[in-house]
């Protein structure tokens, strides 16, 4: 199987993810959370017909359809959502948090629906099992959009099948400084995992698909932050473990053959916890690079783990 996560709205990474099935000749794909982009970039239509946008520090004045499309592609490539909007409408939604949120939710839903349809179309024909799970950075409605799919499965807070394996999935993270949309306390995470444990078949090999990595394992080191979200130490950050103790406890208790994680982009790696291999492939979505891992499984053992940056 091929596992990746944290593509954060990168169209290029998502298309690579879908194509990974054929490229790596794998039987299953898992996208382990944080699918949505982090920002929306307006392309503002003015009364005189011109379109203006500011992206990556550069002001763009666009006069042709081709220029608009080219900029939209560059914006999507970087994991942002482009949207065309009239100047008056932009002014209107800028004043009202609720209508702005609703407007943006619609844009994100439409973009995600387009992705899921693409995955359905390509992977359905091929018969590749595909799990796409929302992570902590995805809005709560995201899971519902994935649930609309015909072939793609949203495994979040469920135990699902993947051939001979059973996959226990939780896309929520522990509490972060960003107050992201889908977070739980350690106690809640622990309770959710324990609730799902009751559905496991002890005779079948288990794969854990938990967005947040296990605490203090080298897969969860991130820069320590101040209250204003700036990094303590600037370019010499104080790297601290920010993973979940509940997740670590679950791996040590359940001993899956493999435990898949994301969330912390900087902490790419794998680590053994008892008989289990825990993996975080990291993320490099805003360079258009899909970081992932090919895990070859045979019955109840891991044959090989190979990191790739595609």
């Amino acid at each position: 199987m091929f596992y990746a996560g944290d593509i954060h709205g990168s169209e290029k990474c998502f298309r690579k993810f879908i194509n990974a099935a054929k490229f790596y000749q794998v039987d299953a794909l898992i996208l382990g959370g944080d699918i949505s982009g982090k920002a929306l970039v307006p392309l503002v239509e003015y009364a005189d017909g011109t379109v203006k946008a500011r992206f990556l520090g550069t002001d763009h004045l666009l006069s042709t359809e081709e220029e608009v499309e080219a900029l939209k592609q560059a914006i999507r490539f970087n994991g942002f959502y482009p949207f065309e909007i009239r100047e008056e409408k932009l002014r209107e939604i800028s004043k009202d948090d609720t209508s702005r949120q609703s407007y943006f939710d619609q844009i994100m839903s439409d973009e995600l629906r387009r992705w899921v349809n693409l995955a359905d179309e390509r992977l359905g024909e091929r018969g590749t099992r595909c799990l796409i799970m929302p992570g902590n950075d995805d809005e709560v409605f995201t899971g519902g959009v994935i649930d609309e799919a015909e072939h793609v499965v949203n495994p979040d807070l469920r135990v699902t099948d993947m051939g001979p394996f059973q996959v226990l999935s939780v896309g929520y993270s522990n509490i972060t400084p960003w107050d992201s949309p889908r977070e739980m306390s350690e106690e809640q995470l622990d309770a959710e995992i324990k609730r799902l444990e009751l559905e496991l078949d002890s005779s079948r090999p288990l794969v854990l698909n938990l967005h947040v990595p296990p605490y203090d394992t080298g897969l969860d080191y991130a820069p320590k932050l101040r209250a204003d979200l700036s990094i303590v130490g600037g370019s010499n950050p104080n790297m601290v473990p920010v993973g979940s103790q509940a997740v670590r406890d679950a791996i040590e208790r359940l001993q899956p053959i493999v435990s898949l994680h994301g969330h912390i982009h900087e902490s790419r790696g794998s680590v053994n916890l008892g008989r289990s291999v825990a993996i975080n492939p990291g993320s490099e979505y805003n360079s258009g690079v899909l970081r992932g891992v090919i895990v070859r499984l045979r019955q109840d053992e891991v044959v090989s783990v190979q990191f790739v940056s595609a």
Partner: protein, 541 residues
Amino acid sequence: MTSEMNSGSGAAPSFFARKATGLTREVSWVDALFYNLLWSSIPLSLAFLLAFGPSDFTSASPYWTVIATLALAIPCALLYAMFSAAVPRSGGDYTWITRTMSPVLGFMSNVSFIFWVTFFIGVYAVYLGAYGLSPAFRVLASYMQSPSMLSTSNWFAGETGSIVVGLVVVALSAGVLILGRGLRTFMKLQKWAFGFWFLGAVVIPFIIVALISKGTFIAHFNSYVSGLGGSSDAYAALLKSSPPLGASAHSLGGSLLMMVLPFYTIGFIFQSTYFGGEIKRARNSAMKSIVWAEAIAGVVLLIGIAIFGMRLSAFMGITGFGDFSKIGMPAAPLYTEVASIASGNIVLGLIISIGMVLVFITWIPQTMLLVSRSLFAWSFDGLLPAKVSDVNPKTHSPVFAVAIISVLSAVSVVIVGMHPNLTFVVGLLGLTVTYLLVSVAGIIFPFRQKDVFEASPFNGRIGGFPTMSLVAILSFIGIGIITTTLLMAQYSGTSWQYNRSRVILCISIVVLAAPLYYIIRAIRKSQGVNIDLAYQEIPPE
């Protein structure tokens, strides 16, 4: 929940950010500048220019040499910054070349880079003894009139002393890197080291020499040598035994050949790009920090040459070829020891000496860190076992990688310590091979990695041709000229005429990496891992 962000220049709003992880503030470009200045060893280049320039490159103008080196090396520095912004990942040349040209070429380039920077760890261990600790104890010996201090000084400059000191520094560096909970402890130490370094090896020596009169210097020098048990009229005796070289006409060719000396600093002032991008994607920081670092290095070198050249021209010339043993000094002084002598003050002399010692001591762990990033990249691509990139959960450090680097560094220390004639810039030629390959990768990058290039902040075009490719062409030309001078200059250490075996060694390292790559590839294939997949981009269409 969304919130409006930056409105830019008053036109359209830049973007609306959602509440999501990772939206931290940009890292200051000053941090990267700081790293680059420290790693590039400006005092060492200045010392070489002042000592060996007048004696070994008699027709060179040091000013034009520095300016020419800046002009020829800056495109390569800019290219590294552009690559770092477009592909902000660990591994530097390895990552860029494997993904742009071919895996085997990237491996060959990086093996050469790793080999030679590891080799330089041995070189710096010898320098630490000969140019750092030995002069420091000589200063103490003179001012305290202590024969035991002088013996200690001589021991540090010898084979045993340099090897022991080198091994101790490698061991201490490994200890700090392993036990320091990641990079935190080391980076804190480095900040303090930089302050002392800049004050001791740059600011104080420049001020002292700028203000001293010739008469006072002669008196202080005579007193200094006398304190070491030498002649009481040492200055006159030195001039008699080693008369200053006559002035010769400067030529462009002569000035270009001397580029091997400032290239030591100017060509190696952008290594923050090897891991600067991994913590934060400060896309413009690399460019700013590199341009400023090159500018500061150039200014410091030019001011240093001017001050020492104007105030102590004849004496500095003699330091490159004079026989100081005849007047009772075991070795010719570098500019920092000259400044210590000029100060006539043990405290100032010690501060200057410590500044120079720190140049060498900080470089060794910095380089070990640099090498670890390449080992990580190799490990992630499957060329080395996954164990190499393991981070110890207790110490938060890559213990296995640091252990490998420590062993390689120790071997380098012993080899260079036993063969100190290898120190003089021998490895520069090997490193230029990497730069040339990166330049070729930079030329084709905008075409082979079109999407990545277009999404990078340096995606401009001049006359329809990518600016990055133009910079890469200039980089290839500039580094090509510098490589030619390394092969032509008699005292470069890698002269084709005088040191052919060393040149062949440099080429062999690169060439032998190719079969090594294919052997590793075959072994991994037998283990069920196809490493070719690590380098291939999945078609996004």
